[in-house]
Subunit: 656 residues, 2 copies
């Protein structure tokens, strides 16, 4: 019976956000606000007050924010975390008897009732507060109590008793009693701002050489930095840079057997030279790598490494830790397969091994090794085929020491699995963006990502292509599709990326019957004419610059879709937290035909008034248009420019 | 690191139902099924299996039900509790490596691959199972293992390995490994069937006398039992039967001062003769009361008492336990008020008293006292003005010893408060039914009650009127409105009730400007002509009989609304769990005009085929109609009969 704290009458429930009953923290970046809401109420008709409490988990003291009453027993409060790491939050509510008394007093006075006894009750409140007040404040409270007790004018007494002096002093002095504290302490994982705003460029370092016929090196990669920086990317993601297995090495176009001299897939990690902590000798030394990382940093670019937990048959782990693999009765290790498909060059690790603790520690040591070499971002290959518990542990453990580390989950699989990876700690996640090809599909998907619980734990990273994925709309849609898709990725999601060279050079030939690039760099070295200028590259460069100067595009969550009377046209607004920067993006998703029609600007969400004129400044074309009110006309010619990226620049008086 | 149980790879989350993270049990009655669903999945492509575990909390052993895969990583299982009390349930999931192997084997065989090594792996599975099997079963498993190892025909071996003999024996013998058990044990509060199916008749015992001018007694009440049983009610609810306070007693029509001889409000509980454990002497003795309870039971009727935690100023508690009340500076106890309104004849109890533990125990003793007198149902007056924690404790505590006790919450207040009372243990709850006056409002409200989480913890009890509530549609709608509302209450909700005499006799005069009865029985004794027959009474009698023989009407949750092309018409289907009993109710909610139109039968939910004819038997009028397919015509004349209560009786071959 004691445990029930019988005199506490306030209930706090249905707290949002709260993931899996508080098992997982929600996600924010430094400076990004968290709004917490809850049902907070009591029995009867007494007045309730509530506060939101929060603190960095390394601090003892809770900060307190008053919560606002929204109606229907719902309350809400907001705070902005200002450092990386885990924050905690919880809620408190209590009955404010003094405020209840003040409201009743006013009503009775207004109904011309005798309030003599009420004023004596008020004096009791003030005297009780005085007894709990600091010495300097007791006198005022006692003076007011006397004034209420001996009031000659009810009107004056009510004015005094309900005024801000008395209210503020009472609240500052009186102890809150019977305070209900929410039963859970919830978490917010606060990451650096790059977790929410990043532009990724992927290329194979072995194809980085300026001249044909030579294996690229990290020094070649360094020479590419100015062009990638000039294009506006802030993150370079490299496929695995480790020694490549020789046993069962794959040849060109995924041939089962490699010809002599063929380089193999970088994802078949490990050979006699070493495993996950080694570098393929042809790329250079660890010194070369560190120089490249430093040089990239000088260009404002971070290097993201691939973390693929799998081994070529000749990876040293297979001999050193045979217990980490599944052995077959014929004395071989079970390779990866999806029956009847076989991937003989890749051995998965067995997460059900009894030696799992040593396995986990070794895998963590790989991350820590590369963190030591200056790597702060990992793109994790197929995390959905490794144990969830392992990821939960390793991400938490690594980020405890190194809160700046970013993990991108490359999982293309079922929704619940993708969501779970976000919940257990991945900073960013690949998405289904690549396969959403109509305006309706895109609206629905982005709404799911941004307006449901997913917003709390799943940070999308939109990729129009990858070395594994050449979607049919790129193959058939050519340059206009490439432009539309990259602008959509870069403006719908504040995190986006490209498998770069093929995209900027507009390569679109697939493996026959597949949605993959032919002659894939996964199995061979390419030579790129890195100096080549293309219209696609120009648009990429522009859109990256536009992102950098328009805060509306630096978050994913502020998006509102407009309508269009043409089903080929997608239209959405974005805005910054002060509504000083407002954008409207309009896309023709049909790469073959001019599409025109009327689009509805989401005026409400953009906080624009109805019936006004405003100036639409297309930051890609530099054209300007005068628009009026909600519905306006657009016409997009795909071979000219399939998109408008408008900044709503000048608004007439009365707007805003 | 150990706590993570590193080799378990299956995740269980998003379990439904689960109230407040498992803090509160969901509700069922004996024999009512509970379907539990969850997201259950693993990393990679291995095959998952899952079971639902349940047990009565007094038993140690868990029962196990296999869960069914619904697609998209969602699983579901069902069990039916067969005793009152608290049940527990949880979930388990694991990877079925043997089944994974069987599926892979089949695919490889079908793709003409060499499966020699696969068969050896299968033999290993069977040998491992043999080592864990009971002695009598080891031989078969080892024999099969040998057959796989030395298979001469791949086809025969695959057939053997994937056949049901091997599968069943393997599953019976092999220990499940790395089983994930859901992190919580969830609860189901299982009540007796009356919790879900009941018909209540409310009357004031002091008005029970057959002859005018006399105070009714329990003996008079006994004489009413045959007529109430004949009308088909199974529960009689009596307003408080305790001594009524004399201080500040209210007069006729809530007059501030009572005239000599006026009886006062039964809710002003307590006087010199006694308090909550005493009986108003005019009603009779406790012996009389016990006789009445027993006699009612003989008629198949239970007596529900009012439990109102409040005291008249002369209630003995005020002197005996002054610490349970709020005292004012003028030496009086704070009476109930909602400023500027005052209720001087009723003193609320102060749940913030430091002596709360003794208060709680005393209040519990009131319930236990009446349980000792044979009362198993309590209608709780205004529970929303008493501490939630108290209700949670007292209901749990009383029901632990007396699981048959039913508590009905009479809370007409804000949604979150009403919902909370359901969550913390009230068996049934009054609702907003009384104020839903259009078909659209009714559809929306009943959908909220039956198709959201509320279904798990909030059992509605629909009342067309109460002594406090005479809604305007009854005042203005007369007999047709009374008939339509009682049929709706009795068929939409399997629990319903009436403030009886005024309803069956069709009294509709309000207090001027209020939605209350004039000359309310709350403040005076009425004399009723108990022998009088009315059309309303006849419909009540019929609808109660219809409810008793049609299981479709004995649950609230199975309801599906049809459409109507006339906005005055409401149409809904109901069905039993076997789809052997199907009902369709059609209501004209306009009491003044004949309304006609086409209604859509919810064929899918009723599991009726499209394009068929069926016989609609109106159980109220005994008319029959032949209907065809989905849309059919109705015409309802309010002064004749504003409702159809159809049983769908004869269906042509091919239906069902």
């Amino acid at each position: 019976m004691e445990a029930l704290e019988g005199t506490k009458r306030v209930i706090i429930e249905n707290v949002k956000p709260e993931l899996n009953c508080g098992q997982y923290p929600v996600k924010r970046v430094v400076g990004e606000e968290l709004t917490v809401s809850a049902d907070i109420f009591t029995d009867g008709h007494d007045e309730v007050k509530a506060v939101l409490l929060y603190r960095h988990s390394k601090k003892k003291k809770w900060e307190e924010v008053p919560m606002e009453f929204l109606g229907n027993d719902r309350w809400q409060g907001t705070f902005i975390p200002d450092a990386m790491g885990l924050y905690e939050y919880t809620l408190q509510g209590w009955i404010d008897h003094f405020y209840t008394w003040q409201k009743g007093l006013k009503k009775k006075f207004e109904a011309n009732q005798d309030i003599t006894v009420e004023l004596q009750i008020g004096a009791q409140f003030l005297e009780a507060a005085a007894a709990e007040a600091k010495p300097g404040q007791q006198k005022r409270l006692r003076k007011w109590a006397e004034e209420l007790k001996h009031a000659t004018s009810f009107a004056d007494a009510v004015e005094l008793a309900t005024g801000s002096d008395v209210t503020d002093q009472y609240n500052a002095s009186a102890e809150r009693k019977n305070v209900t504290t929410y039963s859970k302490i919830l978490g917010v994982d606060v990451e650096r701002q790059k977790a929410l705003f990043s532009a990724w460029y992927e290329f194979f370092p072995r194809s980085a050489a300026q001249e044909a016929g030579r294996h690229g090196t990290f020094q070649d990669c360094e020479r590419l930095l100015p062009r990638i920086a000039e294009m506006g990317f802030d993150t370079i993601y490299l496929p695995p840079i480790h020694p490549i297995g020789r046993e069962f090495r794959k040849g060109k176009n995924n041939a089962v057997t490699a010809q002599p001299g063929e380089p193999g897939s970088p994802w078949a990690i490990g050979a006699a030279e070493g495993g996950h902590k080694s570098i393929l000798p042809e790329l250079g030394t660890v010194e070369d790598f560190r120089n490249f990382v430093q040089s990239a940093r000088d260009h404002g670019i971070e290097i993201a490494l691939d973390f693929a937990i799998q081994c070529a048959p000749d990876h040293p782990y297979v001999k050193e830790h045979p217990q980490w693999f599944k052995w077959r009765p014929d004395g071989t290790v079970q390779y990866a397969e999806n029956p009847p498909k076989k991937y003989q060059d890749v051995l998965p690790v067995n997460f059900e091994t009894e030696d799992w603790q040593n396995l986990w520690k070794e895998l963590r040591s790989i991350l820590l090794y590369w963190i030591d070499q200056g790597v702060h971002i990992f793109r994790v290959d197929n995390p959905h085929t490794k144990s969830f518990h392992f990821w939960e542990w390793v991400i938490k453990d690594v980020r405890r020491q190194h809160p700046q580390i970013i993990f991108l989950a490359e999982a293309f699989t079922r929704p619940r699995v993708m969501e779970r990876l976000g919940k257990i700690g991945f900073t960013q996640s690949y998405t289904y963006f690549t396969w959403r090809t109509t305006p309706e599909e895109m609206r629905e998907y982005v709404t799911e990502l941004t307006k449901t619980d997913m917003r709390e734990y799943y940070r999308p990273n939109f990729w129009p292509n990858t070395p594994d994925i050449l979607p049919p709309h790129l193959t058939h849609g050519g340059e206009p599709a490439h432009i539309a898709r990259v602008v959509m990725a870069a403006t719908l999601s504040s995190n986006y990326g490209l498998y770069g060279p093929v995209y900027e050079f507009g390569l679109t030939e697939p493996m026959p019957g597949k949605e993959e690039y032919i002659n894939s760099e996964k199995y061979e070295i390419h030579h790129w004419d890195w100096g080549r200028l293309t219209k696609i590259r120009e648009v990429i460069t522009k859109i990256n610059r536009i992102r950098k100067v328009n805060p509306a595009l630096q978050t994913t969550w502020n998006v509102a879709f407009g309508d269009a009377d043409n089903p080929n046209i997608l239209c959405y607004g974005k805005w910054d937290s002060n509504f000083e920067n407002r954008m409207l993006v309009v896309i023709n998703m049909d790469p073959h035909n001019t599409q025109s029609g009327w689009v509805r600007v989401p005026l409400d969400e953009l906080k624009l008034n109805k019936g006004q004129q405003y100036l639409m400044h297309d930051l890609l074309s530099e054209h300007k248009y005068t628009w009026t009110d909600e519905w306006n006309y657009v016409e997009l010619r795909p071979w000219e420019m399939p998109v408008h990226v408008f900044r709503i620049e000048t608004v007439t008086a009365g707007l805003g």
